[in-house]
Symmetry: C2
Subunit: 335 residues, 2 copies
Amino acid sequence: MEEISLKTIANRLGISISTVSRALKNHPDIREETKKAVVQLAEELEYEPNHLAFQLLKRKSNAIGVIVPKISYPLYADAISGMEAVAEAEGYQLLICQSNEDYQKEIKQINSLIASRVSGIILSVSAHTTQYDHLLRIQSRNIPFVLFNRDCEQITCSKVLIDNHKAAFEAVRHLVSLGKQRIAFLGGPPHLQISQRREQGYRDALTWAGLVLNEELIQQVEFSKEVIMETISTLLNSPLPPDAILTYSDQIAQRALVMARQRGLRIPQDLALIGFNDEPVDELLEPSLSSIRQPAYEMGTEAARLIFKELNSAKFAYEKIILESRLMPRGSTMG
Amino acid sequence: MEEISLKTIANRLGISISTVSRALKNHPDIREETKKAVVQLAEELEYEPNHLAFQLLKRKSNAIGVIVPKISYPLYADAISGMEAVAEAEGYQLLICQSNEDYQKEIKQINSLIASRVSGIILSVSAHTTQYDHLLRIQSRNIPFVLFNRDCEQITCSKVLIDNHKAAFEAVRHLVSLGKQRIAFLGGPPHLQISQRREQGYRDALTWAGLVLNEELIQQVEFSKEVIMETISTLLNSPLPPDAILTYSDQIAQRALVMARQRGLRIPQDLALIGFNDEPVDELLEPSLSSIRQPAYEMGTEAARLIFKELNSAKFAYEKIILESRLMPRGSTMG
DNA sequence: ATGAAAGCGCTAACAA
DNA sequence: TTGTTAGCGCTTTCAT
């Protein structure tokens, strides 16, 4: 029950290992006859080339490391599918890791990926990442590195993002066009720059619309169901509650929708809602949830493409790709 | 900007590679003085042992291959988190693949995992897997192999499952206890044995309850939104529509709930609904969706545990672990 | 206490 | 057209 290697085939056929190697790669120098024999025996023995040996020889693994906060978020699941498509075409595998929004885990995973000699790393920072030494370490080792979705402005590298400021701005403009005056913003984890960008877009849009900025209507929440519900509760209970809410994520908006419904608020007349990410369930809710769609799959393909571009070119300039997002208006804004 | 290897350190210190290797592993034979010098230089140069070389030597990678239909299904995302926890504790990495319900892709991924010399493979078959040669190939190579969630009865190996027959049976019993008489079953892809088991549980429960089995009320659907909607439509349009539906998955039940609501049916009075998987969004729907909860995370930990058990014991007997599922009654059955 | 050498499976430059 | 050899980075006998 031993492993089948080139040696096995060579011995069985009474030829040299290199001839077998060449035959299997369809090298032009090899006689057709020999080729046939080798290929046939290889199939018979179910020979599978040993990637490990090849990788050792080439001093790199054929794997791209991917670190995302959670693979179950539809955005990341879709992005990973996109990366997979590109990686597969290049003969690469994905080493997928979840940081679970944990900074320490993110560091450990990066170290592990470096030790595994991955050919590149694609990352969305965790909600609790505020220091970036571990990211610099990737770069100091000359490992191609791409940030996507969640940016770190302090890090200079290739990036695949959407224009979060613009997306939030346009969401607010939509709410304003519906006559909303007291528009709240429920932001994500405060350290996340993506959340800050969205908040700034929201602020600038209010100013643009000539509405007052009310700091009580601006809140940040971590990814805990309890915190989210409590914050929404406070907001809806306030003496002058909002007539619309833009949220950092669908997760928050969905919960707000349910809580507003339970309080007997009419959506969107009493309270309009817009989320981020356009998750599939948005259209199943009652009413359906308006949301900002991001090209998640394409983010994945672009990120992977940048890795390979960096991998294959001697001198490489960082690229920043900004993809288009789009507001999907549904029942929660269009009565 | 070259890679630091044992050789680099050995040359710099004027000693042999094997001495460096031993010093770094704290071998008792090595003089303290030498050890100190080696360790210090290694740290200074940020030496990282090359896993690839080690793995080649040991003829196996420290990775467990995982193949699931889709990582975005909450069940699989949770299971993967469970596997990750166990793998990390053992110093292993997960190589996560999605078959996307594609039989050919499943085959390719298995071949690729074998070529990568993974230490074990954990798998849930795709919806279109009807032949199992590729699974047998894993076993013929003596690679520890665990099936989870979606079983293949033809394959003898370690398994982590729930009792799908029982789960469906109890769901129907719940519907019967509510006075439902025309209970439909919307099964998953027909080839999936997990779907067949659930259907059998449904059938047996009807018989047990003394209700007539109406074949028109039993349908199978693939994972396409269009097919699902069409099938539900046909069911609801029939002259004698069902007063309850048990579905293979939440995905189907969620859609049925929305469609029934749009037709003005009262849920659960006119139509009760129960899905499978207890996805987080179930409780956000209006009404909330009753569903069967499976211990997804635990499925993952158990599956990984079985891999390591098989990996670490010379002679190993297959284990079949049946975990408990639980019906979560919500608004779609408990008016 | 340390070194030399073999070998894991593979590729590629060089020989024949 | 095929074989020989060296080497990728590491561990591990076997010498010294």
